[in-house]
């Protein structure tokens, strides 16, 4: 795969370090699909990339974003001594997974305003996706967005790796990103940005598909496409297990 990347660069021309040349970037993931099987407990992904016109001041930012999901965030309030979920707010199309890896800490690469403008980084992404909710909400949605970020970080679904991108010789770079045990299924997009003077001057994206496989896939699809039949199947299996136990232990 690295060979292919290098080849594509060679076709474009010899990598040179001239600052006046328009910068460009190519990237590929080590996996195109990740399968979640019964023994899935997370997986390490590596993204390889190559740049043209990389100068010493340039930095690389890699974002891996999972499929959007609709969320309901509720604030717990004490009612009669117990904590009850109340004051719900609905959010649409919030990334179920968001990991960012950078060659320098993100705040040293670009200003918060510049990142917000280009929608790079978790706070910027959440703010953009939550705009419809903010428009119709009658209260400050920031605590809710913070709660989404906290929940994601708790499950390692939102992650930030400062210096997670390693710049190698000859304009090559490598980023490693880890998928946690709770990785949601769906279509992922990896975006790679080349930053110069605090602005993204080139970008490239690659896609990744996470899907259930094997027994996981079979059970999940069965349970969701034919739920009633699946329920019957569960009952039959349980009765059978009970019958076997009866035969094994109760027969005299």
């Amino acid at each position: 795969m690295i060979g292919a990347l290098l080849l594509s660069l060679l076709v474009q021309g010899q990598p040179t370090l001239l600052a006046n040349e328009p910068p460009s970037i190519v990237a590929a993931l080590t996996h195109e699909t990740v399968e979640i099987r019964e023994d899935f407990s997370g997986q390490e992904l590596v993204l390889y990339g190559a740049t043209r016109g990389l100068t010493i001041q340039d930095e690389i930012v890699v974002v891996l974003r999972g499929p959007g999901q609709d969320l309901r965030v509720m604030e717990k309030q004490r009612t009669f001594g117990i904590w009850v979920n109340s004051a719900p707010l609905e959010f649409e199309d919030i990334p179920s997974y968001y990991a960012i890896a950078t060659s320098l800490p993100l705040e040293d690469i670009a200003t918060a305003e510049s990142l917000a403008g280009s929608g790079i980084g978790l706070p910027a992404t959440l703010a953009i996706r939550a705009a419809p909710t903010a428009a119709r909400a009658d209260r400050d949605i920031r605590p809710y967005l913070d709660a989404i970020a906290r929940a994601g970080r708790r499950d390692d679904l939102y992650a930030e790796a400062q210096r997670g991108v390693e710049i190698l010789d000859g304009g090559l770079f490598r980023a490693s990103i880890s998928l946690p045990p709770l990785t949601p299924v769906g279509n992922y997009v990896a975006e790679v940005y080349l930053f110069r003077d605090g602005r993204a001057v080139a970008s490239r994206s690659a896609s990744l598909r996470v899907e259930k496989a094997g027994l996981e896939r079979f059970v999940f699809q069965f349970a969701h496409t034919a739920p009633w039949l699946y329920g019957l199947f569960c009952v039959v299996l349980a009765v059978l297990a009970g019958y076997i136990a009866y035969l094994a232990f109760n027969r005299r």
Binding site: S41, R72, L237, A241, N250
Partner: protein
Amino acid sequence: MQVYLPIAEISVDVFLLLGLGTFVGFLSGMFGVGGGFLMTPLLFFIGIPPAVAVSTQANQIVASSASGALAHWKRKTLDLKMGLLLLAGGSIGSILGVQLFAYLRSLGQIDLFISLSYVGFLGVIGGLMFLESVRAILQRRSGGKGVGGNRRKRGWIDRLPFKMRFPQSGLYISVIPPLAIGLLVGTLAAIMGVGGGFVMVPAMIYILRMPTNVVVGTSLFQILFVTALTTVLQAGQNQTVDVVLAMLLIVGGVIGAQFGARAGRHIKAEELRALLAFMVVAVCLKLGWDLVVTPADLFEVLAQDGSAH
């Protein structure tokens, strides 16, 4: 060895689940209780989403009650007519319970509701069991005999209409109390993932006055069919039954129950019953504490279908 549960969508250690199944199976074999009321909270504690824990537990009880019900069926120690009546009430209760479950889930309140139900039921049951076993231990120490023999008349039960004859139990009573008991137990199966034997058996003995030799078989018969119906309804309507989780618990439970039944024959019942009561109360207090203590995060993020993030 980790296993990824397809419906609960978390990764759990296989041996932890087998161990839990064996442990609760051991207790249920020893005390003749279903064990659902202990297993479900234990599943919460290891991180299974409550909605999945409750529905999957109903599926597990199908297996444990099936082998017991078969044994009683063979020995003819069950009152089929009474069982069918309890089952009719139980089916209505299960259907209502699953609707309530789906509605509360859509509101994002199902976890709280399950916890509250457990705190209430475990508190009452654990407390009663504890008092009962303390009394039994004290009585044995003082060499006194059991209370027994103070069978009062049924009173208001005898005045209810729609009477029916139950030859196997030697009863002639109204159909309303069995239907109501079945309804309550069916609702419990749907919202708490328990068979409900701990409610039904005392109710059959003290309210219906059924002879004790058919009580357990009849209650297992009702539990088998009500939990089977609940499993199908939960799977069909809420998609919360995890067959992989259920099978691991069943395997552990079957093995544990055999050892438990054997151990139960050799050990003093009262002390162990007090221990079980203590555990029930401990689980109740832990669930209750979690409801009252200020949570680590004052916000809860739920997927739009109501399950936890």
